[in-house]
């Protein structure tokens, strides 16, 4: 079975700095792939290259067999990639409804959808994440948790096949964090999206992820089920330092 997305030998250089060094992995349809690594390992850079925000220096990215390495971000969105941002980036002057509405209109080529139809569509996504009551409030007046949910709704409104989730736990209190995890699980079930989840909080990924990829200093350390990766020596060394065995 062909993988949904196949990343081969991805390299990203910024001048002399190699941020992503020959990373290869596959994403299978319907799974939740976790992506872990210490701070500065290059996780967000990998996502930026995959979604088209930054052009990759070399390597190929294939989606459903189609080479998308040189595609612009809006073309990748039409192919089915959507992302949320580590620090939420809403449209500050648009209301919650109009933000999701923009996604709904532009996400794919829609047939027989007028502006009002798209508005009804957008309200469904808002309702799914629980923001229906806040639909007419400007995005810059929402709380942090609501901003994250808005990001999720905006990404889902493009009806993606693959959803990149970038550190959704950061800045949420435990109650909100539980809600966020529940929301992502419900999104997977109801919309059938594949999830690529970058996260620092290991406990979340241990439960939610089917497989995990670990990177450090731009290179891939390990790949496998959560148990395998967590017990991998290289991964532990990356987090704890080289002499960890003496203190374990």
């Amino acid at each position: 079975m062909a993988p949904l997305v196949k990343v081969s030998n991805l390299v990203k250089r910024f001048g002399g700095i190699i941020a992503v060094n020959d990373v290869s992995f596959e994403i299978h349809k319907g799974e939740t792939l976790g992506f872990i690594g210490p701070n500065g390992a290059g996780k967000s850079t990998v996502v930026n290259c995959l979604t088209g925000y930054l052009p990759a220096t070399s390597g190929t990215i294939e989606m459903n067999g189609v080479d998308i390495t040189r595609m612009k971000p809006h073309q990748r969105a039409h192919m089915g990639l959507a992302r949320t941002y580590q620090i939420p980036r809403p449209f500050p002057e648009l209301t919650a409804l109009t933000s999701v509405l923009a996604s709904s209109i532009a996400g794919k080529k829609r047939i027989n959808q007028s502006f009002e139809d798209a508005m009804y569509d957008a309200t469904h996504y808002l309702e799914f994440v629980g923001l229906f009551s806040k639909r007419n409030i400007l995005a810059r007046d929402l709380t942090f948790y609501e901003l994250r949910m808005l990001e999720l709704a905006r990404a889902l409104a493009t009806t993606p096949q693959l959803l990149f989730i970038d550190e959704v736990m950061a800045g949420l209190n435990p109650g909100e964090a539980k809600n966020a995890i529940k929301m992502i699980r419900r999104a997977k079930e109801q919309f059938g999206v594949t999830v690529f989840w970058i996260e620092h909080v290991m406990a979340v990924l241990m439960e939610a992820a089917d497989r995990i990829v670990a990177i450090n200093y731009g290179s891939k350390l390990a790949e496998g089920t959560p148990d395998e990766v967590v017990n991998n020596d290289d991964v532990i060394e990356a987090y704890l330092g080289r002499g960890w065995r003496e203190y374990a």
Partner: protein, 346 residues
């Protein structure tokens, strides 16, 4: 096949796989229709009272008709164009040169003016993609000044020193007062056409996509908006609409000189119509246009030679004390729909 359905409160238009809905809400039409009726009767009244007023009305309509595409360009490209009068120059000189050389009437030169404006806009459209914020401001500021220099350099063609004369006038009924009246109505029709088209665009899905681009280009790009296409189309469409006004000026005054329209004095007037009327609110451009035109006329009549000095001072004071513009004073009491605002990016 274009199909139209009429439901109880909306008109649905289908073309292939695209679908547009126009919701009819007559309760919002009252004010617009009242003002429309007023503006339609005003030239006729002025005809009998004081024909000079029709001249001011024409100026007002045309100022509004330049400011509205400028608002569309600003919202659509996310940048403020500080040299829209460049396209007035393009349209005007095309119409003037063709009319003088071949003796063509206004209707024949119109398609060529439109074509040249589109070509000029397409040539400079990469600016919209590549230049951000302040660089864009500077380059658009310089373009008309350089065009003015070119008209002086090639003065045998453009007659930069004296201006081009002898252009075929818009229409000639033999009676000057009747001419003014008909051209007054024509300018009102042009202004309304622009108002209607641009308002519809800004309230439709394309206006929303433009607002999204305005707010955050990269995020808009990643949710599937083809930002370059929308920016270039907005730029070229707005530039063409401004070029048509250049055509109007050339045939209305039967003369066209770059020195009148290309330097910064004229640009500041148009910019202030936009700002004082209500920044990037389309109806505000109409209010601003009438206000600026009538203010100018009153000041010239009652103040004489000090007018060029006091006029910008008054406009500067108004710019500061009216942050929402004149139309913003009205809208604050009746908030109806959302319209995007201008951002000039660093």
């Amino acid at each position: 096949m274009v199909e139209m359905e009429l439901k109880r409160d909306r008109i649905v238009i289908r073309l292939g796989t695209k679908k547009w809905e126009w919701t009819l809400e007559p309760r919002y039409w009252r004010n617009t229709l009242l003002w429309a009726a007023f503006l339609m009767i005003a030239p006729a009244v002025a005809y009998f009272v004081s024909p000079g007023l029709i001249n001011t009305m024409i100026s007002a309509n045309i100022y509004a008709a330049i400011a509205m595409p400028l608002a569309l360009m600003t919202i659509g490209t996310g940048r403020m164009n500080f040299g829209p009068q460049f396209y007035i120059g393009v349209g005007g000189y095309t119409a003037a040169l063709l009319s003088i050389a071949y003796g063509w009437g206004p209707l024949t030169t119109l398609p060529f003016a439109i074509l040249m404006s589109m070509i000029a806009a397409l040539i400079f459209s990469p600016l919209v993609i590549m230049a951000r914020g302040l660089y864009y401001v500077l380059l658009t500021l310089l373009l008309p000044l350089v065009f003015l220099e070119v008209t002086f350099i090639y003065t045998d063609i453009f007659k930069g020193d004296t201006g081009l004369f002898g252009i075929v006038p818009l229409l000639d009924t033999g009676n000057a007062k009747n001419n003014f009246l008909i051209i007054g109505y024509l300018s009102t029709v042009i202004m309304y056409a622009y108002l209607w088209i641009i308002n519809k665009i800004l309230k439709s899905r394309y206006g929303l996509l433009m607002a999204a681009i305005n707010d955050d280009e990269d995020v808009a790009h990643s949710i599937g908006i083809n930002i370059n296409k929308i920016k270039i189309i907005a730029f070229v469409a707005a530039a063409t609409l401004i070029g048509i006004i250049g055509w109007f000026y050339a045939h209305y005054f039967s003369s066209f000189a770059g020195i009148t329209y290309l330097p910064l004095t004229f640009m500041l007037k148009v910019l202030l119509v936009l700002m004082i009327g209500g920044r990037a609110q389309v109806f505000g451009c109409v209010v601003g246009g009438y206000f600026v035109a009538f203010l100018e006329m009153l000041m010239i009549r009652f103040m004489g030679p000090i007018q060029p000095l006091l006029f910008p001072i008054i406009l500067l004071i108004l710019l500061f004390i009216l942050p929402e513009g004149l139309f913003g004073l009205y809208r604050k009491r009746r908030y109806r729909e959302y319209l995007p605002t201008i951002h000039v990016r660093r």
